[in-house]
């Protein structure tokens, strides 16, 4: 999963988190798609999934705080998109445990996560940057 400079919002803390998220999801996909047998991957996938669950919540919280600080008009819509994704990740994680590490479930999750994250950062998050630029508030959160 390749990070592209055009994804940057101009808000250093959020951009750092986005890059880290891309790096972590990329590493998750590398393990998920590696040739190693499934049982050997499962422990690493669980660890990575647990980290992502925590990191995604932390990142979404910071991004939403930034949106509030600039009175972003799409805040409620964006917050719901985040909440839906957190719920989805949490449900998949639970199903993964309950299904005794079903591979098909995790491959399905990986494919959706890949497309979702790119679209979210490349499209939805860019609307925040567009608004901040218009208001002359870009890059002011440190």
């Amino acid at each position: 999963m390749l990070w592209k400079d055009r994804y940057e919002l101009g808000v250093p803390r959020i951009d750092r988190q986005h890059k880290e998220l891309f790096r972590r999801v990329g590493a998750f996909l590398q393990v998920l798609r590696s040739e190693v047998c499934w049982n050997e991957k499962v422990i690493r996938l669980h660890e990575m999934l647990e980290f992502m669950k925590r990191y995604v919540v932390e990142h979404f919280r910071d991004e939403e705080e930034y949106q509030k600080s600039i009175n972003y008009p799409r805040y409620e819509i964006h917050r719901k998109i985040h909440a839906d994704m957190v719920k989805y990740v949490s449900e998949v994680s639970k199903q993964f445990e309950q299904s005794d590490n079903n591979e098909e479930l995790m491959q399905q999750f990986g494919g959706r996560l890949l497309a979702w994250l790119i679209n979210h950062v490349a499209a939805e998050d860019q609307l925040i940057a567009d608004y901040a630029r218009k208001k002359g508030m870009s890059g002011n959160d440190g």
């Binding site: 999963m1 491959q107 399905q108 494919g111 959706r112 497309a115 790119i118 679209n119 490349a122 499209a123």
Partner: protein
């Protein structure tokens, strides 16, 4: 807007390809029908001020190219990961369409994407008020959209 539904879908596809895959040049032309064995068909139901469905037909080579670009990895065959990623893209294009329709006060909702099997579609031969198919050409392959919509009577 209703007469222009074809353009709304083509424009949404172009936006998504540009933002997600960095492919900005696409071409489009209407087609009568499209069917081949080597494809992923994704159906998304639409309900609200318009009712019906859109079927996205992604040839296998186009699908693999899309997933390779997004992941930076090399996928050689379609599996559940590829199908899931392509389904999400169909979902994202449809979401873009809904946003544009809403700007014209046409309110609709979409169902989650599902794999579409023409042979199992009991409504395959149903007639729709707005029915159009198009082929969208990109530098990584073609995709096909089959739009089937009714306005509430």
């Amino acid at each position: 807007m209703m007469d222009n539904i074809y353009s709304v879908f083509v424009d949404a596809t172009q936006r998504v390809f540009s933002l997600m895959l960095n492919i900005s040049e696409i071409s489009d032309h209407p087609i009568k029908s499209f069917r081949c064995d080597d494809e992923i068909d994704i159906a998304i139901d639409i309900v609200g001020d318009l009712n019906g469905k859109v079927i996205y037909r992604f040839p296998v080579s186009t699908s693999l190219n899309m997933v390779n670009i997004m992941s930076g990895m090399q996928f050689q065959a379609v599996d559940v990961f590829v199908t899931s990623a392509i389904s999400e893209i169909a979902n994202i294009i449809s979401g873009n369409v809904l946003t544009v329709l809403e700007e014209s006060n046409i309110k609709c909702d979409i169902s989650p994407p599902v794999l579409y099997k023409p042979d199992e579609d009991r409504e395959e031969n149903r007639e729709y008020e707005l029915q159009t198919s198009c082929c969208i050409g990109t530098t990584i392959g073609e995709i096909y959209l089959d739009i089937r919509l009714n306005r509430p009577s």
